[in-house]
Symmetry: C2
C-alpha cells in the first residue's frame, strides 16, 4: 500500500509509522488531493497490522486535517497540501571536543577539585527533600528570600556593608547580571564608559546589546579618573575597583571620591563588578564603592569563583528606582533562577560553611600565588615584573623589555599552540590595542603545586 | 577619639568598625585633609582595643588610599576625599506576600503535589555524587550532551521526529528561549508576526526587545493564515500550532502547508512554541511543524509543564545557520544552564520514568478536564460553550450571549476580587482588544477534584 513500510523493531509505535509515511506522501504529491483513502480494514490487512493501529493513524490524520472524513461519506485526502519543497534534515556534527593543554594558564577558574562536593550533595539532598512544595512553581524574579537574607548577612560580616534584602536580586551569574543591567540602562544609542583593558566577555555583553562603549585607560591603580572629565555623554561607568581586571590594581580612595563626584555631577550610574574580591591575600577584602552611595552604584557579585562556575548564581544590589523595571525585565527574559540550588546555597551560608570554604581557599590560592611568583622571579629575574594587588585567581606579568616574541601576537600564538600552552595576553582584553603588549595573564587558581611548576617550566621554554 | 564607638557584640570585626567610622568621618569632612592620624598606640589606648586591631584598620585605610604613610613621616589623611553628599541608604520594603485565592483558575500550572519528588531527590543526589568534576566548571552554551541525547530520543519516541543532538540547545525555559530568539533575529526595526490572542508574556518578551509585533487573528482552528498575505515585511512568525494559546485549536494540515509556503516565499522563520502538547487527551500529541522543514522552523519546548516551573529547563531546535550566533549570544547573555539539574533530568529521561510521569499526569489532567467540563455544562447549560482541543492545563469557555458582567472588565475584576477568584479573561491576552470579550480561561491542571468542584461553585456564583 503506497510503499508504506512497517518496522517492528522501531521504538516508534506502528500507528505513527503509518501516519508519518502517509503525511510524507501527501505533502510530496504521491498521494493526490481528494484521493479516496483505503478503508481501515483494507489498510490493516495489507500492512498486516491490527485495524485499531490503522484507526489510530487515521484519527490523527483527521485531527491534523490531512484527511477529511464526513459521516456516511468516503475519507479523502484534504486539498491544497502538496508542497514543492520537502526539506531534508541533513545533519552536521559541529561540536569539537574540549581541548587539553600541557599548561593551562586561563584566568578566572577556581580549583574544582577542592570544592566540598560531599557537603554540597548533602545540602542539595536536604533542599530537595524539605523545600516547601510551592517553591517548585514560579517563585518570582527576585530570588529565594532565605538566600537574599544570607547574602545580606555575608556582606555585612565580610565587607561591613549594610544591604537590605529588598535591594538584592539573584542572577544567573555576573555575565547575566551585566546583560540585565544593559537591558535596564541601554535604550537605543546609550553609551557606557568602561575600563580599558577590561574583561572581554563583559565588553562583548554590552556591545551585543547595541551599547557604545567608551574606553577610559587603566594604570596599576585602576581607572584613570582624570580621563573621565570629557566623557559626560554616557549613562554609566563600569568598574572593577576592588581588583581591576586584568591589571590587578585597587582603586585608591582619592580616585573613588572623584569617580563618585563625577557620577553625581553627570547623573551617571556606577556598575561595580566585584568579581573576585573574596580572594585578597595580604589583608581583608576592600570595601565596595557601593557603601559610598547605594542609590548610585549597581553592585555585581558572583558565586562562580567562590563555589563553582556551573552553579550559575550571582546577584546584583540595585538602587530602588530600578526595582520595578528589573522585575519586569527579568520576568520577560528568563523568569527566575532555579529554586533548588538557591535553597542549598542559603543553607551553606547560614551554616557558615561557606565562610569556612572561602577562608580555606584563600589560604590555598595565596600559597599558589606565592609559589608561582617565586618561580617566575627565579627564572626570569629582572626581565619580568609582577603587577597588581595580591589578590584573585590570576597574576599579571610585565616583561622588562617587551620580549621580541610578544611584539608579534601571531608568532606568540603559534609557539604557544605548538607547546600546548594556553595563556591570555592582556592585549586580548584591550579595547584600544597596542598599549599593553608587554603583559600576560597567568591564571593559577585551578593549578596545584605540580601543575604550577610544570607550567612555569613550559612557559619559560617559550621565552628562552 | 573622633567619637568612634566600638560595639563588642557586633558580628563586624573590631578593626572594621574602626575603619568604617574613620572613612565616614573623612568623607564627611569631620576629619580634614592632611590631618595627622593619631599613632596606632594612642588610638588603641583611647578605644581600649589591641594595637593590632588598630594596625589592621590603618593598613586597610592605607591600601585603599584614605590615609597615606611614608617612611619616617607622619601618617596623614589623603587629599581631596571630602564629599558634599553622603548618601544614606534608606530602606523600603516592597515585597508583597503571595496572594491566596478561594478559587485559583490561573493557566499553565502543573500540579506540583503529584511531582515525584522523592525520585527527583534521588536523581539529583546521584548526579551530585557522580558528575565528572569538570562539569562543575564552564561546560559550554549548548547544554549537557547526555540531556541533548535524551531529548532527541524522547522527541523520536513521543512525536516521531528525528532531531540530531547538534540542533538542540538547552535554555532556561520557554520565555528564555523566546528572549534568545529575539536577540537572534531582532536587529533594530525587526517585525514579528504573532497570533492574536497569544500568551501575553511571550508578546511582552518580544516588545521588550524593541521588536514590532504584527497581530494576525486566530479562530478556533488556530492562526487564520489567509490574513498573512499582506504582512510580508517581517522576519518571523510566532505560532502555537499544536494547541493554540489561549483558544486551544490545532492548526489543520491545510493551514500548515499554507503557512510553510508563506514562510518560504517571504524568507521568514517560523517560531513554533510547543508549550504543552504532551497533554492531549483524545489521542497522541500532534506532529510539530518542525518536521516539515527543520531549516525554517525554530522549535521551542519546555519542561516547566511536564515537571515543574522552577526547574528552569527548556530547549530550542535551531536551523544550522543560527548555531554559531546562538552560542555567541548565549555566552554573553547568561553563559549556560546550571549543570547539575541537566544531568538529573537526562537520567530521568534515560530511565523512562519521565515518560511514565507524563503518561500518568496526562491521565490525571484528562480526568480533571472532564470533571470541570461536566460541572460547567451542568451549571451553565447552553449559556456556555467549551472551545478548543481536549488538551493542556486549561480550558477556554465562551458565553452564549456575552454575559453582561463580562462586558465591563472593571466590574468583572472587582467581583472576582471580592469573591477571591482568580480568572484570566482571553481579552487579557489579546493584542487587538474587543473581539474575545465573551471568553474566559479556566486553568484546572493544578486543581484536584475538590478544588475544581469548589472553584466552579464560586465561579457560578459570580454569574448567577
Amino acid at each position: 500500500m503506497w510503499g508504506i513500510e512497517i518496522d517492528r523493531e522501531s521504538e516508534l509505535p506502528l500507528w505513527r509509522q503509518i501516519y508519518k509515511q502517509i503525511i510524507n506522501r501527501i505533502l510530496s504529491g504521491e498521494i493526490k488531493s481528494k484521493e479516496v483513502m483505503p478503508s481501515t480494514r483494507e489498510m490493516a490487512k495489507k500492512l498486516s497490522v491490527s485495524r485499531n493501529t490503522v484507526c489510530q493513524a487515521y484519527d490523527m490524520l483527521i485531527t491534523e486535517g490531512y484527511i477529511t472524513s464526513q459521516q456516511g461519506a468516503l475519507t479523502r485526502v484534504s486539498e491544497g497540501l502538496h508542497m514543492e519543497v520537502i526539506a531534508e534534515a541533513k545533519e552536521y556534527r559541529n561540536s569539537a571536543p574540549a581541548q587539553v593543554y600541557a599548561a593551562d594558564f586561563r584566568t578566572g577558574r577556581p580549583d574544582l577539585r577542592l570544592f566540598p562536593r560531599y557537603l554540597w550533595q548533602q545540602l542539595l539532598n536536604k533542599a530537595a527533600g524539605t523545600m516547601p512544595l510551592e517553591r517548585l512553581g514560579y517563585t518570582g524574579p527576585q530570588g529565594d528570600p532565605a538566600l537574599l537574607q544570607e547574602i545580606s548577612a555575608w556582606l555585612y560580616r565580610s565587607r561591613g556593608i549594610n544591604v537590605d534584602t529588598d535591594n538584592i536580586f539573584i542572577t544567573a551569574g555576573a555575565t547575566h547580571a551585566l546583560h540585565m543591567i544593559a537591558e535596564l540602562l541601554g535604550e537605543k544609542g546609550q553609551r557606557i564608559i568602561m575600563e580599558d583593558p577590561c574583561h572581554k566577555g563583559m565588553h562583548k555583553t554590552f556591545i551585543q546589546k547595541g551599547i557604545s562603549v567608551i574606553p577610559v585607560p587603566v594604570d596599576q591603580q585602576g581607572l584613570q579618573v582624570e580621563y573621565l572629565s570629557n566623557q559626560t555623554d554616557a549613562c554609566a561607568i563600569y568598574v572593577t575597583p576592588s581588583h581591576q581586571f586584568p591589571l590587578g590594581g585597587i582603586l585608591p580612595a582619592g580616585r573613588r571620591t572623584r569617580l563618585m563626584k563625577f557620577a553625581w555631577e553627570n547623573d551617571m550610574y556606577i556598575i561595580e563588578d566585584d568579581y573576585d574580591s573574596e580572594f585578597r591575600y595580604c589583608g581583608e577584602p576592600v570595601s565596595p564603592l557601593l557603601s559610598m552611595d547605594p542609590q548610585r552604584v549597581i553592585y555585581v557579585g558572583t558565586f562562580s569563583k567562590t563555589l563553582f562556575p556551573s552553579l550559575r548564581i550571582g546577584y546584583v544590589i540595585l538602587p530602588r528606582k530600578f526595582h520595578t523595571q528589573w522585575r519586569k525585565i527579568r520576568t520577560h527574559t528568563d523568569v527566575q533562577n532555579p529554586s533548588l540550588e538557591q535553597a542549598a546555597l542559603a543553607e551553606l551560608m547560614a551554616s557558615r560553611k561557606f565562610d569556612k570554604h572561602v577562608k580555606s581557599m584563600r589560604r590555598v590560592y595565596s600559597l599558589r600565588r606565592e609559589l608561582m611568583r617565586n618561580e617566575l622571579l627565579e627564572k626570569f629575574k629582572d626581565n619580568l615584573t609582577i603587577i597588581g594587588d595580591e589578590a584573585g585567581l590570576h597574576m599579571t606579568v610585565q616583561f622588562a623589555s617587551a620580549a621580541p616574541l610578544l611584539s608579534s601576537s601571531d608568532s606568540f600564538r603559534s609557539i604557544s599552540k605548538e607547546k600546548g600552552v594556553k595563556i591570555i595576553p592582556v592585549e586580548y582584553h584591550c579595547i584600544k590595542k597596542g598599549i599593553h603588549v608587554d603583559k600576560l595573564l597567568l591564571g593559577y587558581g585551578h593549578l596545584n603545586e605540580q601543575e604550577i611548576l610544570n607550567g612555569i617550566d613550559i612557559f619559560e621554554s617559550i621565552f628562552i
